[in-house]
């Protein structure tokens, strides 16, 4: 019973923690301003899509994407589409790749990097930023990816453990 609630609960906590971690950014380091973008929630949703249930991950993605858009971005339809799309691709990839934890970690980080790229082009296109691409790469994308990779290395096994426990529980319910 507890595990059943725990999965959406973790998602909510991660959603609320993201902006708190964003308060640390931007960091001035070596005369460069480095942006660290926390992507805790989508990484967790990718794990759900791969280890648990694609449909559920897409639904969560839609819900939290909408909240994200309304609360932070004020442009509805951006994360609302990107989150479910990323979850969908992650779930779809399960058929083709091995589900080992290290591979999942790399795949999630690559997917998040792609999402950042799409977002960069979107905001560039609507003139919200005029950051050159090389700047984006060195000051935003790479630091964010490294930070999120560290986060996944610390918590990825916990996500997998939690989701596996839920899957086992479900199997037991079925039998």
């Amino acid at each position: 019973m507890g595990i059943r609630i725990l999965i959406p609960f973790v998602a909510i906590v991660l959603f609320l923690l993201e902006p708190e971690f964003a308060l640390f950014s931007p960091i001035d380091w070596n005369r460069e301003t480095i942006y660290l973008v926390p992507r805790f929630l989508i990484l967790y949703l990718i794990f759900i899509a791969i280890y648990y249930n694609r449909k559920r991950a897409v639904t969560y993605g839609l819900f939290f994407g909408l909240l994200y858009d309304v609360f932070y971005i004020d442009i509805i339809g951006l994360y609302t589409v990107l989150y479910p799309l990323v979850c969908f691709i992650a779930g779809w990839s399960v058929k083709y790749i091995h589900q080992h934890l290290s591979i999942t970690t790399i795949l999630s980080v690559v997917l998040v990097a792609l999402m950042e790229l799409v977002l960069y082009y979107f905001f560039f296109f609507i003139n919200f930023t005029n950051m050159p691409f090389t700047n984006f790469l060195t000051n935003r994308l790479l630091p964010s990816i490294i930070a999120n990779l560290l986060y996944l290395l610390m918590l990825g096994w916990a996500f997998k453990y939690l989701i596996d426990a839920r899957v086992l529980q479900k199997l037991r319910e079925l039998s």
């Binding site: 902006p19 308060l23 950014s25 931007p26 973008v37 309304v70 339809g77 919200f128 930023t129 005029n130």
Partner: protein
């Protein structure tokens, strides 16, 4: 199954059109939240402020440790300052009383400087950071209105952009919005130079002060404060310090780079300045966010000079 995939294709296309419509609709009117949006913002804001409390506490501990490590050095510096401070305090007191007396003589009660501060706690920062935006825990029910100035104890950080009953969003000074202007002045020893803060330089990470009269002398290291002429902000809020002075593209006016005095990362407590003198709606007062630079019908910041 070709029939099935056609159906899917049409669904996809309709979805795409709806998406583009939704994005462009919400892009156009970003300053006014609709009722369902307000509801979502307030409920997420409530949850967020609960999470923000322990998070602020933890960052507070880090700050404490940091200041503990620098105690000796800081103490030395402060002792030196303290001696100057007593002299300064006396001077300020005399100036203040003189100012009051002169104002009485002139029968002018309120000045552009006066404002009522409202305290607020930062509950979140836009995590994707494409727009520099923070969310605070006070809203229209606490008397906050769009376009009010937001500052920390160190200086100006931005202005209120969207208000819901219990939360509001602050657009920070680091923005690319072309309609985001702050009318400012340089406080040099001899004369006062007025200008407008328009945009910022992404590479230098500094604000740009434009349209300064080229006959006026301004130097590096001089302080820049709000002028209060924009009709929105109170007068005299510190913005930053000049780091470089150049001429603008056409050589008619001067332009200066300004290093903001406020620290934009790790924002926790902010003050919202509610101006006492009547607030004039600025060029983006009705929140359309449209390009009004060529429109002469609306009284705005650009028309004051």
């Amino acid at each position: 199954m070709p029939h099935f995939s056609y159906k899917k294709l049409i669904l996809l296309l309709v979805g795409m059109i709806l998406l583009v419509a939704l994005i462009s609709f919400t892009l156009r009117d970003r300053q006014n939240a609709t009722l369902p949006e307000q509801f979502i913002k307030d409920s997420v804001g409530l949850a967020q402020s609960i999470v923000a409390k322990p998070a602020n506490y933890i960052t507070g501990i880090f700050d404490d440790i940091n200041s503990l490590l620098n105690t000796y050095e800081e103490n030395q510096r402060l002792k030196m300052r303290l001696e100057d401070f007593a002299v300064l305090q006396a001077e300020v007191n005399t100036l203040k009383s003189e100012n009051e007396r002169l104002r009485e003589l002139l029968e002018r009660e309120n000045s552009l400087r006066d404002y009522d501060p409202i305290r607020a706690t930062v509950i979140a920062r836009n995590p994707d950071q494409w727009e520099e935006k923070i969310i605070i825990n006070k809203g229209s029910s606490h008397g906050i209105k769009p376009n009010m100035a937001v500052m920390t104890t160190k200086g100006l950080i931005g202005k209120i952009s969207v208000v819901t009953p219990f939360t509001s969003e602050v657009e920070l000074l680091y923005t690319n919005n072309p309609n985001y202007r702050v009318s400012a002045m340089v406080q040099s020893e001899k004369e006062v130079a007025f200008g407008l803060i328009e945009g910022y330089d992404e590479e230098r990470n500094e604000l740009i002060l434009k349209r300064i009269d080229s006959s006026l002398e301004i130097k590096e290291g001089e302080k820049v404060v709000t002028s209060g002429l924009g009709g929105i902000f109170p007068k005299g809020i510190l913005i930053g310090e000049i780091t470089e002075v150049t001429t603008e593209d056409f050589g008619l006016t001067k332009m200066a780079y300004i290093k903001p005095s406020a620290n934009f990362s790790m924002l926790e407590e902010v003050l919202i300045a509610k101006r006492s003198v009547t607030v004039i709606d600025g060029s983006d007062g009705d929140g359309t966010n449209a390009d009004l630079t060529n429109n002469t019908g609306i009284p705005g910041e650009g028309e004051e000079e």
